[in-house]
């Protein structure tokens, strides 16, 4: 499903070069729920951004859904993001001027769906996250947990193969975090592949597979079954 081989990502600024990912290798199979942990600055977000085609990389090869996406132009990348990938952000990233339905509709408009199709999908997605009754509300009228559920609805409405989440519960209290996690698990059970970065070991443990990123490289804990904190073991 997702295959990264020897991905390198170097950030160059005027003074420093940061090697955010070094010879990064990872395979993710269809239907997996992967939790990504690791120290701050280790390259988790960088990995997720590259996986989601939000930024390019310096070296290596990346195949997504059988397609080599290492060198795409901007429009091609936008199209794949739109059709195959759903994003969930730590800060929810809802558009404050748009109501919930309009927010969920955003990627569907870029997809070019007609208005009936958009309406159907918006209703279905908001229904699925339990906010079907609040379509006309503005994001500011919701709690953080509810906002994140709207963001999930927005990610789901396009029926992506992939869900990428960067600390989706980072801004939520533990109760809301658990609700969001349950929602993600349900989505995964329905067949969507999920990669989630988290700092919360408890949530990470609930995922099928844990990987840890340290210093821009992967430590894999396939089918980690609970117990103590995973120990770093370089792959």
């Amino acid at each position: 499903m997702l295959s990264m081989k020897k991905i390198n990502k170097v950030f160059k600024t005027d003074l420093v070069e940061t090697h955010a990912l070094r010879d990064f290798d990872l395979q993710v199979e269809e239907g997996e729920f992967v939790a990504v942990t690791g120290p701050s600055g280790s390259g988790k977000t960088t990995f997720l951004n590259i996986a989601g085609l939000l930024e390019g990389f310096t070296q290596g090869e990346y195949t997504l859904d059988g397609v080599n996406v290492s060198r795409l132009n901007d429009n091609q990348a936008a199209r794949i993001r739109n059709e195959k990938i759903g994003f969930i952000f730590q800060g929810f990233n809802l558009i404050p001027d748009l109501n919930l339905a309009e927010n969920v509709e955003v990627p569907l408009r870029y997809r070019g769906f007609n208005s009936a199709e958009r309406k159907r999908r918006v209703e279905q997605a908001l229904e699925q996250v339990g906010l079907g009754a609040r379509m006309k509300h503005l994001p500011s009228q919701l709690s953080g947990g509810q906002q994140q559920r709207v963001a999930i609805a927005r990610a789901l409405a396009g029926e992506p193969r992939f869900l990428l989440a960067d600390e989706p519960t980072g801004n939520l209290d533990s109760l809301m975090a658990r609700q969001v996690m349950e929602l993600l698990e349900e989505i995964n059970r329905n067949g969507t592949t999920i990669i989630m970065v988290t700092h919360d070991p408890e949530l990470a443990r609930r995922a099928q597979r844990n990987i840890q990123i340290v210093d821009g490289q992967v430590c894999d804990f396939t089918l980690y079954q609970g117990g103590d904190e995973p120990q770093a073991a370089r792959a």
Binding site: N49, N75, A78, R79, E83, F87, F89, N93, Y110
Partner: protein, 402 residues
């Protein structure tokens, strides 16, 4: 690329910024449309043909203060001298200068009995010699000019002959020919219309009867003060002032010769107010448009700052660069178009107020329409420049900012 509804609802929710811009556009359209219209009216006034070779006609005044001067003799002599100066092709004395803002006016009546006769409209009343026509360079399109032997020297003489400007002839005689018609000044003075000139404007540029003129065969020769017009090649005109002064003083030093102006200079002075007005209005239009486009660009730049994360998020969700540019364009087109619509209505209202206040003609709807069209172009350019920067915002912003 261009979607309207969510852009509109987002606009409706952000209120003040767009509202201020809207107001600015409403006012800009109202003012620019009317100012443009007024400028156009003024320019049209200035571009009317005077019928005269303005740059080739030099005018001046002459005052004889000598005690023993024989005025009729002196005039005759002066005209001879002028006509003999190399470069001068024609010369005449005149009672008034065209386009100068001051002159003589009169009316004819169409019968000997002032009680029953119908009066013509007022016209500029030029009195001069047989070379008046050639000096001005007006075009005789019907009938003929008067001859030297037909000249009178007082307005009460008999044997009056006149040329009429075509617009006046048409107004007075309609489709009938003016040539051969007899008109009256009071019950005694008969005037025979012997010719029609195509165009000849009077002295007052703002008059409704500016195109109504008559040239009559009267060379007034009993005045100490006289005005002259001479016709030369345009290139020769600048040197003529000195030549004329020397030649006339050599003949008789006891006089003041001054006020040398080409008719073009007189015309420019008469239209100076209009020109200043048109210039100031043009500057105002440019300023308004510059301010409006700065406002548009400024607002777009402000919105890009404010919405950096939103733009990154949209890109992450699948927006192409051109979708981002399109979003800003649609947003500002909406503001511009609704501002244009309101501004157009305000412009028409303002136009009709100005019409009644300053007796201007009514502005056509084309003016606001053209202004709005122009503003749409300006909006597009003013928005496109910053919006293309916005499109360069990396989608990675979405995960990098919290």
């Amino acid at each position: 690329m261009f979607t309207i509804k969510p852009v509109l609802s987002s606009l409706m929710r952000s209120r003040t910024g767009p509202l201020l811009l809207l107001l600015q556009i409403v006012l800009s359209v109202a003012i620019v449309a009317n100012a443009g219209f007024i400028i156009q009216e003024r320019l049209a006034l200035m571009q009317r043909s005077s019928g005269i070779a303005e740059q080739s006609v030099l005018s001046f005044s002459l005052y004889n203060f000598g005690e023993k001067v024989n005025l009729p003799q002196q005039l005759k002599r002066d005209l001879e001298i002028l006509r003999n100066i190399p470069g001068i092709k024609a010369a005449t004395s005149t009672n008034m200068l065209p386009l100068s803002g001051s002159g003589w006016s009169d009316r004819f009546i169409d019968g000997p009995d002032p009680e029953t006769a119908k009066s013509t409209p007022g016209f500029a009343w030029y009195l001069g010699g047989e070379q008046m026509v050639d000096t001005l360079g007006v075009n005789v399109i019907e009938g003929r000019n008067f001859r030297a032997d037909e000249l009178n020297h007082s307005i009460t003489d008999s044997g009056m002959k006149a040329l009429m400007s075509a617009p006046l002839a048409k107004e007075v005689f309609g489709e009938e020919s003016a040539v051969g018609q007899i008109m009256y000044q009071g019950s005694d003075n008969q005037i025979e219309i012997i010719g029609v000139v195509e165009v000849l404007q009077g002295a007052w540029v703002d008059s409704d009867q500016f195109d109504y003129s008559v040239i009559q065969n009267i060379e007034l020769n009993e005045n100490r003060s006289n005005q002259f017009m001479v016709r030369a090649d345009r290139r020769d005109v600048p040197a003529l002032e000195e030549t004329i002064k020397q030649a006339l003083r050599a003949e008789n030093p006891d006089r003041v010769i001054r006020n040398f102006n080409t008719l073009r200079e007189l015309k420019d002075m008469s239209y100076a107010f209009h020109a200043v007005m048109a210039g100031m209005l043009s500057i105002m239009i440019i300023l308004l448009l510059v301010i409006t486009s700065l406002g548009l660009s400024g607002m777009v730049m402000f919105n890009i700052q404010r919405r950096t994360k939103q733009i990154g998020t949209r890109r992450a969700l699948g927006a192409r660069k051109r979708d981002i540019v399109g979003m800003f364009l649609v947003e500002n087109w909406l503001i511009c178009f609704s501002g244009g619509l309101l501004g157009g209505l305000l412009a028409m209202e303002l136009g009709s107020q100005l019409m009644t206040l300053f007796s201007l003609p009514m502005m056509g709807w084309q003016w606001p329409a053209m202004t709005v069209a122009g503003l749409l172009v300006i909006t597009t350019v003013a928005v496109l420049l910053p919006a293309r920067k916005a499109a360069l915002i990396s989608p990675a912003i979405a995960t990098r900012t919290v």
